[in-house]
Symmetry: C2
Subunit: 212 residues, 2 copies
């Protein structure tokens, strides 16, 4: 069949990614298929495979966009909080709240980031893991500001602990697996986590053995 001039390869990539993103606004990825995306943008399944390599890699490209979007939201939330000058913990709380807000407003896109698994120990491509560790770096910088005498490893540990916690709360809450009693919501859990953890974390000028 003919070579079309409708779109360049770049435009086609974006077309496919947009189609998936549009779908994820209202339905989970499990209800989407390569063939549907192809139908939606008016190309054949094979074209998309040529372009991305596989259906999974198309979804991975969508995940990259999602992570970029999450990063933007976090940065914006932290910036706003910093301008209000309510302290570093408030800034981290704002970031966590933004993270939860994104997960709640875009559950299907958010889930896909963590539920997509490439086969048989193909590790994440660097451009993808880079996006995740960039998020951790944002946190580590704030933690160092909060506790200037902390070592880099100390901050790295703490960043992973608190973000795993925030992430776990978001995950389980979206899946309705927290069985929250009325009146307690995610934002309160997040604040409880950050407040209690960081209060004690800051107390020690030298990290305890468990933070090496």
């Amino acid at each position: 069949m003919p070579r079309r001039q409708d779109h360049t390869q770049e435009e086609l990539r974006q077309l496919a990614i947009d189609s998936v993103s549009r779908h994820l606004r209202s339905a989970p990825a499990s209800q989407l298929s390569l063939r549907m995306v192809a139908r939606d943008i008016g190309y054949s399944p094979g074209t998309l495979i040529n372009l991305f390599g596989s259906y999974s890699l198309l979804l991975l490209a969508v995940n990259a966009c999602t992570l970029d979007c999450i990063r933007d939201q976090l940065l914006q939330a932290m910036d706003n909080s910093r301008r209000a000058d309510a302290g570093v913990i408030a800034e981290l709380e704002a970031a966590a709240a933004a993270y939860f807000h994104y997960a709640q407003e875009n559950p299907h896109a958010w889930r896909l980031v963590f539920e997509l698994h490439l086969d048989a120990e193909t590790p994440l491509p660097a451009w993808q893991s880079g996006r995740i560790s960039a998020l951790f770096s944002l946190l580590e910088a704030r933690l160092l500001k909060l506790k200037p005498r902390a070592t880099a490893a100390d901050c790295a540990s703490a960043a992973r602990v608190i973000w795993s916690g925030v992430h776990g709360i978001c995950t389980l809450l979206l899946d309705n697996k927290l069985f929250l009693s009325d009146g307690a919501d995610a934002r309160q859990l997040i604040r409880s986590l950050l407040t209690h953890y960081l209060t004690d974390w800051c107390r020690h000028t030298q990290p305890p053995a468990s933070d090496q």
Copy 2:
């Protein structure tokens, strides 16, 4: 075709569940299918659908077993720790370590518990959500012992915060999304979480506003 007398329905259920569990010891659920299970136990796909209702519900039955197994592991770990008399926090640490250990040793079964989603807001059956909230109850009991003046809601909150944290650490670590620097492992992150969080949580005889 004939009604067989090879197995009763109960035996058949167990046969199917065992087949899935056996598979999950070495490969993820995404590489398994209803037809494979049927082939493995020598019945037709339709028989399994008659028995469980759908493939998803078969997997859900497997998840119930997994959760029972996790509960047993947690109870055993806490019992051992209690006999060593090292305190309530150590007991909770032992439970968290057991949780992580199970996830690490049985990653595919563990993942399936949280990655299986039933369609279109069919909520989890009660016998399933009951198993999860029973796990929370274990924690709440220990937290009340740790801080006798805490309210039930206070303990419920704290249990959810720390277990979301432990769960998040397990999830992200299994997915290689934590990018731990050398020398820091999951057990240290878990201990850091529990120590710092609970130390400050216990400080307040009245819970702060964020713990309501």
